[in-house]
Amino acid sequence: MTTIRELRVLPPLAIGRLGAATEPMDNYTAETDPDQPLAPRRLRPAPTLRVDPATGAITGADTPERLRFTDGHGKVRPVAPFLEVWALTDDDVLRPLTVDLLEANDLTPDDVQWRVRVGNHKIQRRTYDDDDRIDADTEWFSDHTAHVLMGLCANFLDDKFLPLGHARYVKPTPEFPGIRLRFTPAGGHVYGSAYTDRPTDPDPNVVDFLYDATRGKWRGHADQPGDPRLTIPAQIYAGDDGPDGSWVSRGYLDDECDGLVHVKLEVLGRELSAFGRIGAGPPAYAPDSVPIRTVADELDQALFGPRATDRDGLEHARAVAEEVLRRATETVRLMNTEVMNGNTVDGRVDAASTMVRQDTADTGRLYEPIMAPSLVDAGAVLALHQHVLAALRSGTAPWFADVLRDHDEVGDLTAKGRRKMPALMRGADGRSLALTRRQVDLVRLAARQAIFRQAGDETRGPR
């Protein structure tokens, strides 16, 4: 029996990336090169679904020979994820929802309905004015045309909307019978605010004026010091110096968004529904690197808890330790370690916005480089991380757990505290970055257990 009992949207969270090119980015994987394990991950093209712009049907799933992140004319190709509908059938199997499965339930693809609701509440978060919320809602649809995600806002100029990309119900075909929706993010443009009661100077940074600066408060907004609702650090919007040290908004908007993709289907008189989450962020400019702490790590911790458990075997813990080191190596590669350490660089003291500056500005701590200034030559730091990674690959127990920063040490401004790993980087709370508790605990599990193994002994159970 294949009666559809429940629906799922998979993946439950899909993150797109902005881009103005017409053709979305090709599919690829990022893999460790077995012959160069210390090098950045190697990007390999993977089978890529092509959607016919005219019909909305998938025309092929070829693997491109080479990857290209722009269209060759300076425009970035957006990452446009597919969301698939899966069905839990009455034989307790979760399977892709296809034309055949629909037919088996006396349904057609036209019976599947979608609705996409996304928002960009960045301005409202600053001004606390609900009229500054930007929301888009496609309402329910079953056709295969591209539905523009029109971001509407009470404080926009007349007839203006913020394009947040589009959503399209991919037309199933015999070759590609799956039920899918594709979310294509917006172009990654900057929009501006214009006055209606006086002239507004042209601004080369913006592609259009959307926001009514006379009606709304966004242009000219300044975060108020001492407001406990502010982000840490505050004032992280495009602006200019204002009176009394304030930071005055230029009234810019971007076209990022996040929200929900809903699907519904009536089966045997019951309405089944499911939803997935989508979001759009900036393009990946180092796609062969993974940040040291990612959303995936947060989700992992939310799912499995902050401590390693009996379900975490030694091999998994070792893999996490190596992954942490690999990401650290990839991250160091992208850092100007001399500047970020607070060194005097080419005669410039306090050369950039760094944790050193922030520690001093927030607490009055002595302005002092974090590591010994001699140690932060970028090439040498990278080589050190690569050596640690190499040693780990010998099966040696990780020994660096005691230099990892714990979650409750992010505000430790002693020399030792500031030198813990990951160093020189800021966490979401404005203080030094720490790995998730779960990441740290897994590295410690590997550190405790790895000395009891024997080469060739690959069948180790849980601890």
Binding site: P34, D35, Q36, P37, L38, A39, E338, N341, G342, N343, T344, V345, D346, G347, V349, E368, P369, M371, A372, P373, S374, L375, V376, D377, G379, A380, V381, A383, L384, Q386, H387, V388, L389, A390, A391, R393, S394, G395, T396, A397, P398, W399, A401, D402, V403, A415, K416, R419, K420, M421, R444, A447, R448, Q449, I451, F452, R453, Q454, A455, D457
Partner: protein, 487 residues
């Protein structure tokens, strides 16, 4: 200890020379402490500064030797034979011993700072194993961890006042393991201090504060380990405080004496204080008590079956016995050709570590928050990288067979054989040539390992080591091309 040093040591340990021919006995008299036991007497062939430098050389060798012995013992621990119920203990003990070894590393570089401040040559040398010493009359020996080997460490770090039934019992085990023992490290540090504190012997101007940028600093070498009180937090292993790495800069008589006092106190606990868990003595004693309390069959399971004093095959024709009051100790030649290559790789990376440390002392650190960086930071990082490599290669050696065609026999263990020389060339450019030589030698060894056992071509560590060596070569070529030597 080398004979050319040994002949001068009558000044500190005259009793060693009491039964020697009259000429030597004369030296002994010349060097003995005077009646008050306070004022040292200068031995022949020295002035006070040079004598101090000689004593510091001896101190450096002792710290170096202790560190290596402790590392060997720590690396031997573990293995699949450790019973489940002992694993937490064994991992904790290993972490404690590794911590002590790291602290000995701090002592070693602090002694180099003392030497640097006095304008003396640094000393990273030591004898190969096994060897007798005037200060440690049992033979220094690389032994896997056992209650017996642990007894020798307890006694080596024990204060002079340690006595009682337990002390006697442990001293007996130590003597049975390694020969009769008298702790004289305290006497050595006491003698150095008695010279340092006397302005008549060493005037103020002999302490060169301007050498500080060349000395090792905690900021560069501490790696986040605690300065001041030993860390409270569990690091790698719960309930084991992280080590307290003491690295003191020396810029005056007071700072020199403080440095010496602190490292002496951390190691050899001048007084017996059962509550003081920070001294090496008490930490070793704690492990000894726990280990000795286990049934013998369990004691035998805490370490892998690793040979004593493993040496690489090119010394097959040598059989060395330790001299002086020591139990008979011989080397264990590695006859398995594949294992021997790993032993050579270990020795080479050990040499690279010592070369990196010595080379780093040649270059000044930045004076102005890093406005001008030299290769020093890179060399410090390379030194740590070699410590990680040593750990990795030691991990292999404790799993590989010692003898050819005896796959179930003893394991080899890390070799720690000293290079033929630790002298650095005069010019910095030539030091980098040496660095290049060593990396190229490492690549040859990796190639040989792969030739000997083609399966090694898939060894993740060797693949990674080859790659990191390649990257190191590129860096060195960059320096040699005068693009990065100094800037």
């Amino acid at each position: 200890m080398r004979s050319r040093v040994h002949r001068h040591l009558a000044s500190v340990v005259p009793e060693l020379f009491a039964d020697l021919p009259p000429a030597m006995a004369t030296l002994s008299v010349a060097g003995a402490l005077d009646a008050e036991g306070e004022r040292p007497v200068l031995p022949p062939e020295f002035n006070w500064r040079d004598y101090t430098v000689m004593l510091l050389h001896v101190a450096a060798e002792i710290e170096h030797s202790l560190m290596v012995q402790y590392l060997f013992a720590a690396y031997s621990m573990g293995g699949p034979q450790v019973p489940e119920e002992l694993r937490d203990d064994v991992r904790r003990w290993q972490e404690i011993i590794l911590g002590i070894a790291k602290e000995e590393m701090g002592h070693l570089v602090t002694v180099q700072n003392l030497l640097t401040a006095l304008g003396g040559p640094m000393n990273l040398d030591r004898e190969d194993y096994p060897w007798g010493s005037d200060f440690y009359p049992f033979a220094f020996s690389l032994r896997p961890l056992s209650a017996r080997s642990l007894a020798t460490y307890v006694v080596a770090e024990s204060p002079e006042t340690w006595s009682g039934p337990e002390a006697e019992a442990i001293k007996e085990v130590a003597a049975d393991t390694a020969g009769q023992y008298v702790n004289r490290v305290g006497a050595l540090y006491g003698r150095i201090d008695s010279v340092l504190k006397n302005k008549d012997f060493l005037p103020d101007e002999l302490f060169h504060a301007e050498t500080l940028p060349y000395q090792a600093s905690w900021d560069e070498w501490g790696r986040g380990y605690t300065r001041g009180q030993r860390g409270q937090e569990a690091g790698n292993v719960p309930d084991v405080a992280s080590p307290q790495l003491l690295v003191f800069g020396v810029f005056s008589r007071d700072s020199a004496r403080k440095a010496l006092h602190e490292i002496g106190e951390q190691g050899e606990a001048p007084d017996v204080d059962e509550q003081d868990e920070t001294s090496h003595f008490n930490r070793f004693l704690g492990i000894y008590r726990a280990l000795a309390g286990l049934p013998p069959e369990q004691q035998a399971l805490v370490a892998r079956r690793v040979a004593e004093n493993p040496v690489t095959a090119h010394r097959l024709n040598e059989v060395e016995a330790a001299d002086r009051a020591a139990a008979e100790v011989t080397t264990s030649p590695i006859t398995d050709p594949f294992t021997a290559l790993w032993g050579h790789l270990f020795n080479l990376r050990y040499r690279m570590l010592l070369t990196d440390i010595a080379h780093a002392f040649r270059l000044a650190g930045p004076l102005d928050n890093g406005g001008v960086l030299t290769g020093r930071g890179a060399l410090v990082h390379r030194a740590f990288a070699e410590m990680y490599n040593l750990r990795a290669v030691a991990g292999r050696l404790v799993e590989l067979p010692l003898e050819r065609d005896v796959p179930d026999g003893l394991r080899a263990g890390p070799t720690f054989e000293m290079p033929y020389s630790l002298e650095l060339p005069h010019h910095d450019h030539d030091c980098w040539l040496l660095q290049r030589d060593l990396v190229q030698a490492s690549r040859l060894l990796v190639d040989q390992l792969v030739d000997t056992d083609p399966a090694s071509a898939r060894d993740p560590y060797l693949i990674a080591l080859r790659e990191s060596d390649q990257r190191a070569l590129e860096q060195i070529e960059h320096v040699l091309g005068r693009k990065g030597c100094t800037r």
